[in-house]
């Protein structure tokens, strides 16, 4: 009933008001008449009636509240606030742009954080998934041995299920050009561990782990659709993989995400197209070779630590059973930290940066609103005097702030949509989970939350200040020359100091990252990337099962390539620089003994003679391989500088000998013929690992090789030539991973470049905002002090006095803000440690330079209003009083 009555009154507001007006008038008239009847003069009676009746406006407001809906006053407030914003467009544009940019930046970065860090991995109960690695003093993270794995699986009590996988790309032929796709050998139950089920067919059972049962394959949804026309009867079909007939036993659904791996790594993502059964072959008592990776699902009642303890106990037991297995510890690491761990520090730094920008924007908005609130003092005083409740005024002010923040937030969200697209495009290629980054409902909720918090944060100060106002004072001053009450201008100064210090922190962060980036760009990679194109070729075992076949293929290919007019030099090797290659071998050095409990070990590589000149890896001593180093000549080896320093410090290493055999015959010794320059495993590896190279013609037992070609002209033009040369020898081979070395080098700094670009962008935004803030406060104080300045000038102060008066105000704010910023940056910059390379987090040059820039910007922001102040005409200023 009440609601319906209110509703009907909603459409009769005018009539309601008119009637109330009339009723009040009638009431007064009656009271007046009665007073006259009591003997008052008509005039006294009128005043008495008015006094008795009290504040008519207030009665109307309260009556309106009775009949109005609660939301209605909000609508009024919003309308009022809209009018206020419309009335001062410059103010509105500055404040909205500031907020839109900073809220948009927050939403965009949060989209990335949400997609990468917060969203659960697309597996069943992903928090229980772990990766298993081995660790020793020489190899902090190492792959597993298959027979060790089989024992872990059989003996452990901590895991619900456990599986292993290893990279093994497959060449698919049949119809069309042969392609090579990312493939993995997996043990039985690999998908079960992840909680994934094939869309068609089944996954491999334990029988497939037995040698000889391996000719089965599970296809990705993508491969099934693109290569097999989404054939629903594909299960049981025989397809040609690595020149052999494999039976399709399963098809995985779309969205099957590879959990990422370390050894010959394929990053987390939907980039694996074929899985084949891993089989346990060889002698189970020889456990020296490590090339599979473990993944397992913890039992629901078992913690990480408990599982780690049990696995280490099992490993210790294995060490007692098999001498080769001693000295290893087992690492049990949550899959989540494996996938996103590396990107986390950078994302948190970016989040910190955008939060700082937002705080600065809040301080700016609060300052603008404060300045405006004091020029609206008269308006507020009038409303208070007319009987508006303080709560109502406060609510009105808050409504205004929230309206501003919501308009800003709306614009910000629009910017975030664009920003997220740009971010994803700019993200380094190896960044995890980029496909999960978009403006999702969670991002929307976050934006709303940030928007409301922002509105409240920057609205509180003006709202409180407005309601503290004394109506009498406000009316008397009449909004004229309030020499800003001390408290208020102190608050404004404090806000500017905070802005300047926050901007200073961000700039120092950006400065450190820039220095780090420059360091990385100027780093000598140990090779010359210009004009080099690379590719990888994998020789199927069926046709290339013998050493000689592999050697003959690569020898022929390289010779043909070197004969091309556009090729300066071409070579093949087991791997390319910076690909994270990590094959190791122990060996014996003639006449030396390793320290107790250790063995001589180093990375082993293979290379054809042209490999080093094609990549531009320099010769330090001795000679490179030549065509004359063949099977029938002396066995030779090249080592890198790091290996020479480690095992033959201060010795001439040329002519020294090493071997892989425990009881070497004379022909098993390899003679060191040269030392080559160091190349790190990864661009950001702290140092190059000791490594040696075998001539491909003397070893030749890897069937996966990489080719490097140094071009005389544009290297990309050689891609087709390479394909032609390969197909001339064997038309069934696929040429994969065609890349320019330039691109590889560029992408190696893509993460620091990306991080610097964003932090730099936010730091730039921050310093501009802080500049605007300083400018605003100084010019406001100049406008407030105009009469004072006029008096000073009338009393003989010269322009330079006025200038230094204003500038010293700006300088106080700038220096204090910068000092605080430097201290804060000093405390915070160690958080950057994992992101910066070869720069101290307390780099004095960066700190000094940034402090100088910040002070300069703040002084510039103060200079403009100071200039205006000196132009004050004393007469005008005094007249204005």
């Amino acid at each position: 009933m009440k609601f319906l009555n209110k509703l009907s009154l909603l459409f009769g507001r005018r009539r309601f008001h008119d009637e109330l007006e009339e009723e009040i008038a009638f009431h007064r008239a009656q009271a007046e008449r009665d007073f006259v009847a009591e003997g008052m003069t008509p005039e006294d009676a009128r005043y008495a009636a008015m006094r008795q009746f009290g504040n008519g406006t207030r009665i109307k407001e309260r009556s309106r509240e009775v009949i109005g809906f609660r939301g209605e006053t909000v609508v009024q407030d919003v309308r009022y606030a809209m009018r206020q914003l419309w009335a001062s467009p410059a103010f509105t544009i500055v404040i909205l742009l500031t907020l839109a940019l900073s809220i948009g930046a927050n939403s965009a970065i949060f989209s990335v954080i949400n997609g990468v860090l917060l969203k659960r991995l697309p597996y069943e109960q992903p928090e229980r998934l772990v990766r298993i690695f081995l660790s020793s003093s020489s190899y902090p993270r190492f792959s597993l041995n298959p027979f060790d794995f089989r024992d872990y699986r059989a003996r452990n009590q901590s895991f619900e299920s456990m599986a292993a996988f290893t990279r093994g790309d497959v060449q698919l032929s049949g119809s069309g050009e042969p392609v090579r796709v990312n493939g993995f050998g997996i043990t039985a139950g690999y998908f079960h561990v992840l909680g994934l089920r094939p869309e068609l067919g089944r996954e491999f059972d334990q029988a497939a782990e037995l040698p000889g049962n391996g000719l089965q394959v599970i296809l990705s949804n993508r491969l099934w659709r693109t290569r097999f026309g989404a054939d629903p009867n594909v299960i049981g079909r025989k397809i040609t993989i690595n020149m052999q007939a494999y039976t399709v036993v399963g098809v995985m659904p779309a969205g099957t995400v590879h959990p990422g791996n370390e050894y010959h790594s394929v990053a987390y993502g939907e980039d694996v197209d074929a899985w084949w059964p891993f089989s346990f072959e060889g002698n189970p008592n020889r456990r020296g070779s490590h090339y599979i990776e473990g993944i397992a699902r913890l039992k629901s009642n078992v913690g990480l630590e408990q599982a780690g303890t049990e696995m280490n106990a099992i490993m210790a037991q294995l060490g007692r059973e098999h001498p080769g297995d001693s000295g290893w510890k087992v690492l049990v690491i949550p899959l989540y930290s494996e996938v996103v761990g590396a990107s986390r520090p950078m994302l948190l730094v970016l989040l910190g940066a955008v939060v700082i920008v937002l705080l600065i924007a809040c301080a700016n908005a609060a300052n603008l609103l404060l300045a405006r609130a004091s020029s609206r003092q008269r308006e507020i005083a009038v409303r208070l005097a007319m009987g508006a409740p303080r709560m109502r005024i406060m609510r009105q002010m808050m409504t205004e702030s929230l309206l501003i923040s919501f308009l800003g937030g709306g614009l910000g969200l629009a910017l975030a949509f664009i920003g997220v697209k740009a971010l994803v495009a700019l993200l380094p290629a190896d960044f995890p989970r980029t496909q999960d980054i978009h403006v999702s409902p969670a991002v929307l909720a976050f934006t709303i939350l940030v928007t409301v918090a922002t509105g409240i944060l920057f609205g509180l100060a003006p709202a409180f200040q407005a309601t503290r106002a004394d109506p009498r004072e406000g009316l008397q001053k009449g909004g004229r020359t309030t020499i800003g009450s001390g408290r208020q201008s102190r608050l404004r100064d404090a806000l500017v100091v905070a802005e300047v210090s926050l901007a200073c922190v961000l700039l120092i962060g950006a400065g450190l990252m820039l220095r780090s980036l420059l360091n990385q760009l100027h780093l000598d990679p140990g090779f010359q990337q210009q004009h080099v194109i690379t590719a990888s070729i994998s020789l199927p075992h069926v046709n290339y099962g013998k050493r000689e076949q592999v050697a003959r293929f690569f020898d022929g290919l390289v010779t043909n390539l070197n004969g091309l007019p556009d090729v300066e030099s071409a070579g093949a090797g087991s791997d390319l620089p910076w690909t994270g290659y990590d094959e190791n071998s122990g060996f014996t050095i003639e006449g030396k003994k390793p320290p107790a409990g250790e063995e001589f070990h180093a990375r082993y590589h293979m290379a054809t003679p042209g490999y080093f000149s094609a990549l531009g890896i320099p010769l330090v001593a001795g000679r490179f391989f030549t065509e004359a180093d063949t099977k029938d000549t002396q066995q030779v080896v090249l080592i890198n500088h790091a290996m020479a320093n480690k095992y033959w410090p201060n010795e001439n290493v040329i002519g020294k000998r090493m071997t892989f055999e425990d009881e070497p015959k004379e022909k098993d010794w390899l003679t060191i013929v040269g030392v080559v320059g160091d190349v790190k495993d990864q661009p950001n590896s702290p140092a190059a690992q000791p490594a040696f190279w075998w001539p491909e013609l003397q070893s030749g037992w890897t069937s996966d090789m990489s080719v490097a070609i140094r071009a005389r002209g544009t290297p990309s033009l050689l891609a087709d030539a390479l394909r032609n040369e390969v197909h001339r020898i064997d038309p069934a081979l696929a040429v994969a991973d065609l890349k320019l070395m330039d691109t590889i080098v560029n992408s190696s700094v893509s993460t620091p470049r990306f991080a610097f670009a964003l932090v730099g962008l936010f730091a730039g935004l921050a310093i501009v905002l802080a500049g605007i803030g300083t400018y605003g406060v100084i010019s406001y104080s100049v406008s407030q002090r105009t009469p004072e300045l006029g008096i000073r000038m009338a009393l003989g102060a010269v322009r330079s006095d006025v200038m230094s008066l204003i500038l010293s105000h700006a300088a106080r704010l700038a220096v204090l803000g910068t000092a605080l910023g430097v201290v804060a940056a000093f405390a915070l910059s160690r958080l950057l440690k994992s992101l910066i390379f070869d720069v101290s987090p307390a780099d004095p040059a960066t700190f000094a330079l940034v402090a100088g820039i910040v002070i300069l910007v703040a002084m510039l922001a103060g200079y403009v209003p100071a200039l205006r102040a000196t132009a004050t005409d004393p007469m005008n200023a005094l007249r204005a009083e």
Binding site: M1, K2, N5, K6, L9, E19, L20, E22, E23, I24, F26, H27, A29, Q30, A31, Q52, F53, G54, N55, R58, I59, R62, S63, E65, V66, I67
Partner: protein, 112 residues
């Protein structure tokens, strides 16, 4: 000037409803009537009266009609509705219960 006692909170609606049982009255009449019947002890603030009347109207406890007064002026006259009469009963009994309760507490205090 001695301060007049304030109306007990929540009693204004009841007083208005009771006053209207004696017949239709305009706002000024209601204020005057309460003042007279209370021997000038209770003064109804206009600032409370009119919002209260709006409240009663919304609840349909009173209805309003524009009529001419004896002096031939247009005024809004309020009359009690059946629902209003019922509400008055409810409020009176609540009020009596409360007064009785207060009385008991006070007499107990005196005895002690």
């Amino acid at each position: 000037m001695a301060k007049k006692p304030d109306l007990l909170p929540g009693t204004l609606d009841m007083l208005i409803l009771k006053t209207l049982t004696r017949g239709a009255l305009h706002g000024y009449g209601i204020a005057l009537s309460i003042k007279r019947f209370s021997d000038d002890v209770l003064t109804v603030e206009e600032g409370s009266l009119y919002p209260a009347l709006q409240r009663l109207l919304l609840q349909n406890w009173v209805k309003a009609e524009w009529k001419m007064t004896d002096t031939n002026r247009r005024a809004r006259f309020y009359t009690l509705t059946a629902a209003g009469r019922k509400q008055l009963g409810v409020e009176l009994s609540q009020f009596e219960q409360m007064i009785a309760a207060i009385g008991r507490v006070l007499s107990d205090v005196q005895e002690a």
